[in-house]
Amino acid sequence: MANEVCLRTLHLDRPWLLSSYESEGGYEALRKILTEKISQETIIETVKTSGLRGRGGAGFPTGLKWSFINRSAPGEKYIVCNSDEGEPGTFKDRDILRYNPHALIEGMIIAGYAIGGTAGYNYIRGEFWEPYERFEAALQEARDAGLLGENILGSGFSFDIHAHLGGGAYVCGEETALLESIEGKKGQPRFKPPFPAMFGLYGRPTIINNTESLASIPDIIRRGGEWFRDLGVENSGGSKLFSISGNINNPGVFEIPMGTPFSELLEMAGGMKDGYKLKAVIPGGSSAPVIPGEQMMELTMDYDSIASAGSMLGSGAVIVIDDRQCMVKLLDRISYFYYEESCGQCTPCREGTGWMHRVIHRIENGQGRPEDMDLLDDVTQRIMGRTICALGDAAAMPVAAFIKHYREEFQYHIDHKKCMVGGR
């Protein structure tokens, strides 16, 4: 029960080709919708039934999001795909773009049809050159086959998709920053409301979904919302791509049912490398609160189970931390990332990420002060919930969680000017 949805062409020779995709039922959903003239309501209801939740990290129900748009409003309406994969630990959308770009294209066309859309943009991070070229080639194949563009398959429905390349900015993964970026501006998030469904790209109604969410759509339509939902567990429908990395034997992307025990995922990924022990796991990308290894071994990979341990499934990026690692040093690097990537718009995030990084950095380097732990607690509290977008929370959450679970390592650094782990 692996690679059933987004990666279902992976076993084929050149999985990214249209012929490979079609041999696995590709574009059947679109053909069915257009020939049987399935209504927009029916499609949206099917997506709601499937239990699909936003795979970029927020976990918002996709069908519900689609229903927010005023489908009968005149003028342009856009589908925007978020392939700005940048949350540290996440590398799944890259594989969809490289190995099954047509699933994304078909998903975007169906989404466009369902909301009365006129065009789609796929925002691919600028460093992803190879995935970008694959995606462009797939778009061309689809256009040549009459599956994309004017009057698709003679149905009268027209929809075209364009790729947009980013320029290196984590914050553009935030949906409104992404829209600003497509509009040729700095990627600084917008205030919400208005939400993109009312006022999105170029001020037009817009739906923004993650690559994996959209690539899951064709199979949901083809095989039914219930089929997809029943792959997973309550509140976490379907299967999901997990990017697992760290000191393990076989890191990579695994598409497995929601609710799979973490211990099984770790086994699929070859287990711990070189005999080191599992110390901790960051279960959903670097902003997800860290979970101690023993506790993680009891959890399953779905929204509710991970939330019960005070963390989040996020993008499904599982970072495995072994017992050689110093938690202070890891947090030093993570906090630097958010400091570096803060867009600078909101004071609590712009200043707070710098404060957190400087304090953690001095603790790591043996210059911590007795009051630093309280100072960190204070700064995280002052960032959380006080910024326009979630980057502030994303920066503060890991700090709070590392300190909660590994306070003694930080305290040791401060008291002894050196590390508990590995005698550094």
Partner: protein, 181 residues
């Protein structure tokens, strides 16, 4: 509250746009302009900056940014904002090969420090510097989304994954031997 979403306005639009760039560069930029609504030419600014940067040996100058502004009917300041916001644009001269090393958390766990150390030793420069012969620039970057192949770096458009010091040597050897364009 009234909501507005309008492109940048430029009153002194340049008419002789064909004099700004070579026909090849213009054709490449125009391909991107065609993807967006006609009044939103500025949506192509990121692509245009990348295209002229690549054509200029990997970095931007103010003159190039001004030309992009003229070409897309944007105020120059709006182009500077974009060029300084995104990390892939270089505002100072870089080496022929820009090595972008990821040191973020997954790469760190898998030994990116050793890779950085090896690169610094072999090239005789620190992160953020360029070799005297102008061949290599070493740049620390944030997560490039290839954590399954950690440690990794990017040179040009290519990702190199599962790096070891030996692999790094063979990659750099082949780049050093490659004297052509």
């Amino acid at each position: 509250m009234s909501l507005r979403c309008e492109p940048w306005a430029r009153t002194d639009k340049r008419e002789d746009k064909e004099n700004l760039f070579s026909p090849e560069i213009r054709a490449e930029i125009d391909k991107w302009v065609a993807k967006y609504p006609a009044e939103w030419k500025q949506s192509a600014v990121m692509a245009a900056l990348r295209i002229v940067q690549d054509d200029n040996g990997g970095y931007l100058t103010q003159e190039l940014m001004d030309k992009v502004a003229d070409y897309l009917d944007m105020p120059p300041i709006a182009v500077y904002e974009v060029a300084t916001f995104y990390s892939m644009y270089e505002l100072e001269k870089v080496g022929k090969h820009k090595i972008c090393v990821c040191t973020n958390v997954s790469c760190m766990i898998c030994g990116s420090e050793n890779i950085v150390e090896h690169l610094e030793k072999r090239l005789g420069i620190k992160l953020g510097e360029t070799t005297e012969d102008g061949k290599f620039t070493l740049k620390e970057v944030e997560c490039l989304g290839a954590c399954g192949g950690a440690p990794m770096f990017q040179i040009g458009k290519q990702y190199y994954e599962n790096l070891t010091p030996e692999l790094v040597d063979s990659i750099l050897d082949s780049l050093e031997q490659d004297n052509g364009e």
